[in-house]
């Protein structure tokens, strides 16, 4: 029986790859359908089984992409290269997720090497225990400078990091007092770095974490009902055990992987869209002692995740990567990678440089007249070219499959070929009507072939400029 081959439905695989990765081309989707869904999820949860992307190759092939340590565009180009080529999609997606939540920016230091290390830190730790993530974050020079912990001294505390680690990185507003903030700040005194930032006037040398014993406040602190001579790690221990932390981070995960929630400042007054889903994730969190892998396993294997197709707006990085997955470009290092940063900026997202410590506003706030124009025109610029490998593939698939020459089947097949995109009834009926007006596709004569190719190109253009293509 042929059905033995297919263990997971293609559209479900496509959904998983869009959310837990950066989209996929048709052949990749087919490859994954041979595995059981839960097995694919396990593969994603254990990235170390699969080889790393050799993005160092980039600097070997293209000096301009590798040599300039200070140029963010080259590093963001490398990041896009990873998103497109990684065999560890969830690892890369978690790095972007944490970049949204633990938002650290380049703007203040203008110091690229520490930001590159920061993203690598998120990549390495994204699926580990939340405690580990917070400890690594607190020791990260980019973060220390971003939130002034280098100005946080035993004799005079700077509350910035103490406040944000509670408000934005773990528990959310309303779950702690101003004294808790002060005492958290005291516990992080002496956590600083070696090479000073910012770029001007100190230059772009790499910076390392250092604990300055003589600048640490060893006194007794009261923090979240507990008392002791806490240091930063003990504070993080206490934070990680809080149910409020579990609820806050799980809601972030839900917002990023499942369904657009309102913007974070509204969370203390607006209940989650799916309380049941959050409860399930929180249960995993508490049972596994804040293990992100367990929480993500629960999320990705849940029914509510599987049923959540096409209901969150892609962020610009996802939009660009998904488009390039379809076009089949950038499968090897290419100087064009450095351009992708500015494309992404024009769509409203500068990677490695969120607008503030609150991160990017997500969901429908990605879309305004300017960014929508950029998205639509970019997708068309990339895909309205029959010679791109991915587009060529689509044309040939339609050509070689007689059934797809029937107008209705043609539309459905096109939707599959661009990644099993689900569209509204309204859009679908418009596309089918258009296809029916032009009748059956034919490839008999040269002329027929040209007409049919143009029809395929047009259908492709319409699908990728649809409202639905803005969603993931």
């Amino acid at each position: 029986m042929v059905t033995n081959e297919i263990k997971t439905d293609s559209s479900l695989v496509a959904h998983l790859l869009r959310r837990a990765g950066f989209g996929s081309d048709y052949s990749q989707i087919q490859e994954f359908t041979k595995k059981k869904y839960e097995e694919i999820v396990e593969d994603f949860l254990n990235p170390e089984i699969f080889p790393e992307v050799e993005d160092k190759l980039i600097s070997r092939h293209y000096i301009s992409l590798g040599a300039n340590k200070d140029n963010q565009a080259t590093w963001n180009g490398r990041w896009f290269y990873r998103m497109i080529n990684t065999k560890r999609p969830l690892q890369e997606k978690m790095a972007l997720f944490w970049h949204h939540v633990l938002a650290t920016g380049w703007t203040k230091s203008e110091h690229t090497p520490t930001m590159v290390n920061h993203i690598e830190m998120l990549r390495k730790n994204g699926l580990k225990n939340f405690r580990t993530i917070l400890i690594e974050l607190s020791k990260d020079p980019a973060m220390i400078y971003w939130l002034d912990n280098n100005e946080n001294h035993s004799e005079s505390i700077n509350e910035n990091y103490g406040r944000e680690i509670l408000e934005l990185f773990s528990m959310g507003i309303g779950n702690y007092t101003e004294d808790d903030i002060k005492n958290a700040a005291r516990s992080f005194t002496g956590w600083t770095f070696t090479q000073p930032l910012p770029l001007y006037p100190y230059g772009h040398y790499e910076s390392k974490f250092i604990f300055k014993e003589n600048d640490h406040d060893y006194g007794v602190k009261k923090f979240l009902e507990k008392t002791g001579p806490f240091n930063g790690e003990e504070i993080i221990d206490i934070i990680s055990q809080q149910e409020a932390t579990a609820r806050f981070i799980c809601r972030h995960l839900y917002n990023f992987f499942v369904e657009d929630e309102p913007q974070v400042p509204a969370w203390s007054i607006t209940p989650p869209k799916n309380q049941f889903a959050i409860d399930q994730m929180v249960k995993s969190w508490l049972e596994s002692d804040a293990d992100l892998k367990s929480v993500m396993r629960t999320l990705l294997n849940s029914d509510w995740f599987k049923k959540s197709k096409m209901n969150r707006v892609k962020c610009p990085a996802e939009f660009i990567a998904a488009t390039l997955k379809i076009s089949g470009e950038y499968r090897s290092p290419d100087p064009g990678l450095v351009q992708l940063e500015s494309t992404c900026i024009a769509m409203g997202q500068k990677l490695m440089d969120p607008p503030s410590v609150e991160g990017w506003h997500t969901g429908k706030e990605w879309i305004d007249g300017g960014t929508l124009t950029e998205r639509v025109n970019y997708a068309i610029e990339i895909l309205n070219d029959p010679n791109k490998p991915g587009v060529k593939f689509i044309i040939n698939e339609i050509k070689n499959d007689k059934e797809s020459h029937n107008p209705k089947k043609f539309v459905n097949r096109m939707l599959e070929l661009v990644g099993f995109i689900e569209i509204s009834e309204n859009t679908k009926s418009l596309l089918i009507k258009l296809a029916e007006e032009d009748g059956k596709l034919s490839f008999r004569t040269k002329k027929d072939q040209e007409i049919s190719r143009n029809r395929i190109m047009r259908m492709l253009r319409l699908i990728i400029s649809s409202m639905e293509f803005q969603f993931s």
Binding site: T107, K108, E110, Y200, P201, D260, V313, S342, I345, A346, G348, D353, P355, S356, V357, E358, H361, G363, K364, E365, I367, D368, G369, G370, T371, L372, T373, E374, V376, N377, I380, E381, N384, S424, E425, N426, T427, L430, L434, R458, R461, L462, S465, S466, M467, Q470
Partner: protein
């Protein structure tokens, strides 16, 4: 040709990177200037003096001519307390009027909200450049951003005109979601359809434009020509925005600053002539600003980020001259011991323009009451 538009119009020219005010308007009688700027200092025999103590950069001839005609108000020492040395943060502050926390609503977006509360005209504000500057962005506010006026709009990448028209027609139908499709779909659909309307409106502008002025071939000249073309089409645009980039002269300042100032001041001068030719001189006021001034002392090749910059208000209705005070050149007055201290808050200049030129109460837009100046001879406020 005359224009239909008699409402006051504001054109903002943003100089990105931090224009070196000290080398644009030079305090040439001060030894401090020459002592601190052995490399980037302008030789006295080259600069263009216009008062007893101040001279223009040699490449700002066009600006000097406009100044002599009384059309340029120079705002000396513009800035704010604890000036940020980060381009991005500093620009953000200028865009949002919020020096103390990160804000998301742009000051001009709030102006658009006042002018067109129902978002009835998608081209009330038009930016020339890629992406929308934060100054023009706020939830629920529509502003149009034009990369290339001659090839503007959705699907501009499609070469065959026929295909493009057909696709746009389909786009419009696809972006008209069925009832009950949800808030996000409705919003997305409305945004898509608004972009289409904006593009249709703007398509008129290049068709009817004719002028004897020959602008130079560089980005700022091209942008100002686009401003002229859209303005003369009478589409109801009240705010134009454009950007002239490259002022971050840490290195090679001498040749690069000269080139930028030539391009900028020539483009402004051509634009003013174009307005004149179309009897529209009295309709537009220009504000030229930058995120900060530069360090007093040069670094051997250029200058680093500083404060106490300068801005210019230019137009037919402007009462030319010097406004506020040139920042103190006495090192003991310097910010952080090395930067010029500002002498007037930028929000007061925004306030001046909003209240005296646009006829809009600035209080809620700039976040308070700030000292204003009186740089206008007359206005269009009825």
């Amino acid at each position: 040709m005359t224009t239909k538009n008699k409402e006051p119009v504001l054109l903002i020219i943003q100089l990105s990177g931090g224009n070196d005010f000290m080398n644009t308007v030079i305090p040439f009688t001060s030894g401090v200037y020459f002592d601190n700027r052995p490399l980037v200092g302008i030789p006295e025999n080259k600069m263009i003096p216009f008062t007893e103590n101040l001279a223009f950069h040699p490449c700002a001839k066009s600006l000097k001519n406009l100044y002599e005609k009384g059309k340029v108000a120079i705002i000396q020492g513009i800035g704010y307390e604890n000036s940020s040395r980060s381009h991005f943060r500093a620009m953000d502050i200028w865009h949002t009027c919020e020096p103390n926390h990160v804000a998301t609503e742009g000051w001009l977006a709030k102006v658009i909200r006042e002018i067109d509360p129902n978002s009835s005209n998608p081209v009330t504000a038009v930016n020339f450049g890629r992406g929308l500057p934060r100054a023009l962005a706020a939830p629920g506010v529509i502003a149009t951003s034009v990369g290339d006026l001659d090839n503007y709009g959705l699907m501009s990448e499609i070469e065959k005109e026929e295909e493009k028209i057909e696709d746009l027609e389909m786009f419009k139908r696809m972006y008209t979601p069925a009832l009950g499709s949800g808030i996000v779909m409705d919003y997305l659909g409305e945004t898509g359809r608004t972009v289409l309307t904006g593009a249709d409106i703007l398509a008129e502008a290049p068709i009817n434009y004719s002028s004897t002025i020959e602008y130079s071939n560089n980005p700022i000249a091209k942008s100002l020509r686009d401003v002229a073309r859209v303005h003369f089409a009478g589409l109801g645009t009240r705010i134009f925005y454009t950007n002239h980039a490259g002022y971050d002269h840490h290195a090679q300042e001498v040749p690069n600053h000269a080139r930028l100032l030539t391009e900028l001041t020539d483009a402004i001068s051509d634009f003013m002539d174009d307005l004149d030719e179309h009897n529209a001189s009295e309709e537009i006021t220009i504000l030229v600003f930058t995120e900060f001034g530069r360090r007093v002392k040069d670094n051997g090749s250029g200058t680093d980020h500083g404060s106490g910059g300068g801005a210019f208000i230019i137009g037919e209705n402007v009462k030319g001259g010097l406004y506020s005070e040139y920042p103190s050149l006495n090192p003991s007055d310097w910010l952080y011991g090395e930067d010029l201290q500002h002498t007037i808050d930028f929000r007061g200049i925004y306030g001046t323009i909003l209240q005296q030129w646009m006829g809009i109460d600035p209080h809620d837009i700039i976040g308070g009451d700030f000292e204003q100046i009186s740089p206008f001879n007359k206005t269009l406020i009825r």
